[in-house]
């Protein structure tokens, strides 16, 4: 019987009422008295030397209040990379300065080099057009292989090979891996590209800065997934504003997918302008600006090799990857292609030997950073594609090759050869569930039906795992992280018994206001409606690290559980005093404190009130009030896993691929709100289909972004997606957090792309086309060209 509230209930998302009725309050909705506007001058060339910038005409334009260039910010610090990566040779990665506004050089199309503040947006934009910038265009560094091979052209003059780091994981295993390849009976090799994506949250970035000339306090309203992290970066690294004089508020935020984790220069400009003018300064990003300034995702070029015996048992895996970092290091950019990617290369398999080499490369493109999945989609895509190819080469069934290489359910905790310890899992269970729900046995008859319609049908699989719930601070500290990745919560029981939960997590679509309330409601036995979740305002919430890496419930939720546990413990003391019983005899159930074995009982509300009206209260041993905080640092990542089956139809006349069936059987451990979990999987799968079939950022030879609007950047739409069959009934609860939960937010985006591509390859091969691989996105023209090529080769 499904519950109707609390843990396990599909409680309706309470936040959706305001979102769907136009009552959300996003940064762009906030208007302060006396507010003025900033517009940015952005580079139209991918690479250029700034000889001079003449702002005199702009400064004289109507309504203009201030003009800034990179020169105005040279004293400020660099917007830093959050992780130091150590190269194979022991050297620390090269970190060029990332200025607030471009200085000396512009390094990508869209790189902001000047800003104008004016009374209206139109006046600011008019004045931007009056800025005269003498920028000498240089050859753009675009192709990673040539950027590394030829040091005549440099993104950063001081970095001669355009390489940020050359990372080996795990370097000590390299010789053993190479030796295994030399003696392996079979080696499958695949070269592939993980396509560059633009994040496209529904709400573009926006910032509004306010400076109080009386108190000298700053307030920044901004589109952030992690307001405390923003405050820390602005305070400690870039602007030097003392943390206690800066409040960062991330109100309702319309999606992020990673792109709103990071601190961007525009935020520093609005703060500096507000300080200079003593007036609130606002910036709302245009969609066209977003395409050339939001951090992009993915963009890896990889060669992967899989060594097996003749029966398809994995012996070793080896990869070489060039990871595009773009022009500057965005905050998580160095972690994404390394520790969020290399550590995943074992997958759910018992491959004994794995070695990963990643070179991070600077190019004259928008910075690349974490995007839904962040490194784990790149890892999963390689693994699941090379396995698919290997099975075809060896003539082994796609399901059987996976199953025979799975880590067995009795092998946990399992230490992988790439540095992780999986706490629990049962990969065969999700695979069986996928086979059942996806009716893989009936595939051949469905294929025959498609064939009768003139379509080629294929089925593809992906059995994925990921590491999320970021992250154990001690572990990531060893790996080079410059921050801790715990989280924090305060549970404040008000005198009248209702509750404010202050969380370090930030909800930008996830549904935290609903789910966190379900958890606390279940623990305290009070209605969900009596619990308010407060997030996004650094002046209210404790120092938590925000939401990304599928961490909100596993990490921030655990902090809430721990704070709530403290509330219950304190209540028990109060109850024991009032009912003249021993604390150990107090039982808390269904919202009542009872003395075991008696009918003596006090409700949670009575105890809460007495904490604030402490007349009958053990004041000599207990403080009044009922408010508790907890910081929680996870002992390990969580390791959700799943099995996906995708069926496609390929139109041989046009090359168009239609996803006609999709089954996702996932293990997220315990599930708090099934409806929200399913919604997260739906969204992730659709983004995965987007990457596989539609989305890619394309640059021309000059580094111009040819996909700078929705006229050319293709997003998946509802009619591109079949009814998704999603299941989360296979549950191996996480062993190291009290809720037993694992992250689910990125799963779909991680597991889906290889399932789709494998299905297309299956369809084409079954149709007689000898095609081993097509790089994503598998657009109609690419699929048709591959078919035409295969046909020509056969003739």
């Amino acid at each position: 019987m499904p519950k109707d509230s609390g843990i396990g209930a599909s409680s309706k998302r309470r936040e959706d009422v305001r979102f769907l009725t136009g009552k959300g309050r996003y940064t762009a909705d906030i208007n302060l008295r006396g507010q003025v506007y900033v517009a940015f001058a952005r580079s139209t060339v991918a690479h250029g030397r700034i000889n001079s910038i003449d702002t005199s005409a702009a400064a004289e334009m109507p309504g203009v209040l201030a003009v800034f260039t990179g020169e105005d910010f040279v004293e400020m610090g660099s917007n830093p990379a959050g992780w130091y990566i150590t190269s194979r040779n022991g050297e620390t990665m090269k970190e060029p300065k990332r200025p607030v506004l471009a200085h000396g050089k512009v390094r990508h199309v869209g790189d902001a080099y000047a800003a104008v503040v004016a009374e209206t947006v139109a006046q600011a934009k008019d004045a931007v057009e009056a800025i005269e910038a003498d920028i000498e265009e240089l050859d753009a560094v675009l192709d990673m292989a040539s950027a590394v091979a030829d040091n005549s052209n440099r993104v950063h003059d001081e970095i001669d090979d355009n390489i940020c780091f050359d990372w080996g994981w795990i370097e000590d295993n390299r010789a053993a891996v190479d030796a295994a390849f030399e003696s392996a009976p079979h080696v499958t090799t695949l070269e592939l590209i993980n396509n560059r994506l633009s994040p496209n949250p529904m709400e573009p970035r926006a910032s509004l800065a306010d400076y109080n000339t009386g108190t000298e306090d700053y307030t920044l309203y901004t589109t952030s997934q992690n307001p405390h992290l923003h405050r820390l970066l602005i305070s400690a690294f870039v602007m030097g504003i003392p943390e206690h004089k800066l409040t960062v508020i991330a109100p309702d935020v319309g999606g992020g997918f990673g792109s709103k984790i990071y601190h961007y220069g525009e935020e520093a400009v609005v703060l500096a302008a507000a300080r200079k003018l003593g007036r609130p300064v606002k910036w709302v990003c245009d969609r066209s600006e977003a395409f050339v300034s939001d951090a992009h995702g993915r963009d890896h070029v990889t060669k992967i090799e899989l060594a097996t015996d003749k029966e398809g048992n994995f012996l070793a895996m080896r990869t070489e990857t060039l990871a595009n970092l773009g022009a500057y290091l965005s905050n998580f950019s160095t972690a994404t292609p390394t520790f969020l990617h290399g550590t995943l290369m074992a997958g759910p398999y018992k491959t004994p030997l794995v070695y990963v080499n990643v070179k991070g490369v600077f190019t004259n493109t928008v910075p690349v950073d974490a995007y839904r999945g962040a490194g784990r989609p790149e890892a999963t895509y390689q693994i699941e594609r090379v396995i698919d190819k290997c099975a075809r080469e060896l003539g082994i069934d796609q399901i059987e090759i996976r199953r025979k290489n799975f880590i067995s359910p009795d092998a946990f905790p399992y230490t992988t050869p790439v540095g992780l310890v999986y706490d629990t899992g049962n990969y065969g269970a999700t695979l069986d569930k996928m086979i059942e729900l996806g009716d893989t046995a009936g595939f051949e008859s469905r294929r025959a039906e498609s064939s009768a319609k003139g379509k080629l049908r294929g089925i593809g699989y992906s059995t994925w795992i990921e590491a999320c719930g970021i992250a154990p601070s001690h572990l990531v500290g060893q790996l080079g992280a410059r921050v801790g990745l715990y989280d924090a919560a305060t549970v404040r029981v008000n005198a009248t018994g209702n509750i404010s939960v202050l969380t370090g997590a930030h909800s930008h679509g996830q549904g935290h206001e609903t789910v966190f309330a379900q958890v606390v409601s279940d623990m305290l036995g009070i209605p969900e409606a009596s619990i308010e979740i407060v997030h996004g305002d650094t002046s209210k919430i404790p120092f938590g690290m925000g939401s990304y890496g599928s961490r909100s419930l596993a990490v921030c939720g655990t902090a809430i559980v721990k704070a709530t546990d403290k509330i219950i413990a304190k209540c028990k003391k109060i109850a024991a005093h009032q009912m003249e019983a021993s604390e150990s005899d107090i039982v808390f159930e269904n919202g009542n404190f009872t003395v075991a074995g008696t009918d003596k009982s006090k409700s949670f509300g009575d105890i809460a009130l007495s904490a604030y009206v402490p007349h009958n209260y053990p004041l000599d041993e207990l403080e009044p009030g009922l408010e508790e905080s907890a910081f929680y640092d996870p002992a390990n990542f969580t390791y959700p896993a799943g099995a996906y089956a995708c069926e496609v139809e390929v139109d041989p006349g046009t090359g168009k691929v239609d996803v006609v069936a999709f089954t996702a059987a996932d293990d997220f451990g315990n599930v708090i709100n099934p409806m929200i979990v399913e919604g997260q999987v739906h969204g992730g799968v659709v983004q995965g289909i987007g990457q596989a079939l539609f989305e890619v950022v394309v640059h021309n030879d000059e580094g111009q972004n040819l996909t700078g609007s929705y006229m050319d950047y293709a997003m998946p739409r509802s009619n591109d997606v079949p009814l998704l069959v999603v299941d989360h009934s296979c549950q191996t609860p996480c062993t190291h957090n009290p809720l037993g939960v694992k992250g689910c937010g990125e799963a779909g985006a991680i597991g889906t792309p290889p399932a789709v591509v494998n299905a297309v390859i299956d369809a084409l091969q079954a149709g007689g086309y000898d095609i081993a691989h097509i790089d994503m996105p598998l657009t109609p023209s690419k699929v048709w060209a591959a078919m035409a090529g295969a046909q020509q080769a056969a003739e």
Partner: protein, 263 residues
């Protein structure tokens, strides 16, 4: 966007006199012009709306001719032409999305002559007549290349007369991002012969595939074009499709259009 004046006259004469001013520009549904203005790529001093003029609206059938007034929206055509010319109504009902169809107009589409627009294919394949405030222009003379038409400065499309074919179908293959035609083919069969118009494919905009027309004139079946090939020379090439791909699509889509027209 830059500042501009806006007028919305209620008669064609008022519109024409407003348009006589320097830097004045007509706006109908604005589905191309508004995005262009938002990106600051155009700077008209005055926009003259054509959507408040009663005589520029409506769909009517007289004999074997369907006439659509210039400022009639796609949504209205999709509904009101459905009986007389279902293939044309179907084309109108598949342009863009509901918001585009509620605002965009046939006159705006034909005046703009985007090489990937839908309506030019229908007009050319139907041998339609483009009616303006000064004259009538046969479709074969009207389309003159990318974003280029026979219209003079200040001339307004007031209507389009479509001869109603015996059979017709519009086969659209969409570009995945814009959902404009990557290539689309309108096939119309008349007692006088078959006309095949292709949009989205050529560097010169909408064109008639005469080889296909001849073959289909002799045998109106999909097989009639199976032995033909389309020259990729002069086809558009971009990230969404090579010239060879578009040339290939012309043939595939023509065959499918014929199959659909034959029901």
């Amino acid at each position: 966007m830059y500042a501009f004046d806006f007028v919305k006259p209620s008669t064609l004469d008022e519109a024409l006199s407003a348009l006589a001013e320097d830097e004045a520009q007509a706006i109908s549904g604005g589905q191309t012009l508004i995005p262009t203005l938002k990106q600051r790529l155009a700077m008209p001093s005055k926009l003259v709306s054509l959507t408040g003029i009663a005589e520029l609206k409506g769909v009517k059938t007289e004999g074997n001719t369907l006439t659509i007034a210039g400022a009639t929206t796609h949504a209205v055509v999709a509904k009101e032409a459905a009986e007389a010319y279902p293939a044309l109504a179907s084309l109108a009902g598949r342009i863009g999305d509901p918001s585009v169809r509620a605002l965009g107009t046939i006159g705006g589409s034909l005046a703009n002559n985007d090489p990937s627009a839908c309506y030019p294919a229908a007009a050319l394949a139907s041998g339609a007549t483009i009616v303006t405030n000064t004259r009538e222009i046969p479709a074969d003379d009207y389309f003159q290349g990318l974003f280029t038409t026979a219209l003079d400065e200040g001339e307004i499309v007031t209507g389009v007369k479509f001869p109603i074919p015996e059979k017709a179908h519009y086969q659209k293959f969409i570009q995945p991002a814009s959902r404009f035609p990557l290539t689309a083919v309108f096939v119309a069969k008349y007692s006088s012969g078959v006309r095949v118009a292709v949009t989205g494919a050529s560097e010169d905009g909408v064109f008639r595939w005469s080889e296909g027309e001849e073959a289909l004139g002799a045998n109106f079946s999909p097989d009639a074009v199976s032995g033909l090939s389309v020259d990729p020379d002069g086809m558009m090439a971009d990230m969404h499709g090579t010239a060879e791909y578009r040339a290939h699509l012309v043939k595939v889509l023509t065959a499918r259009a014929v199959a659909a027209a034959n029901g």
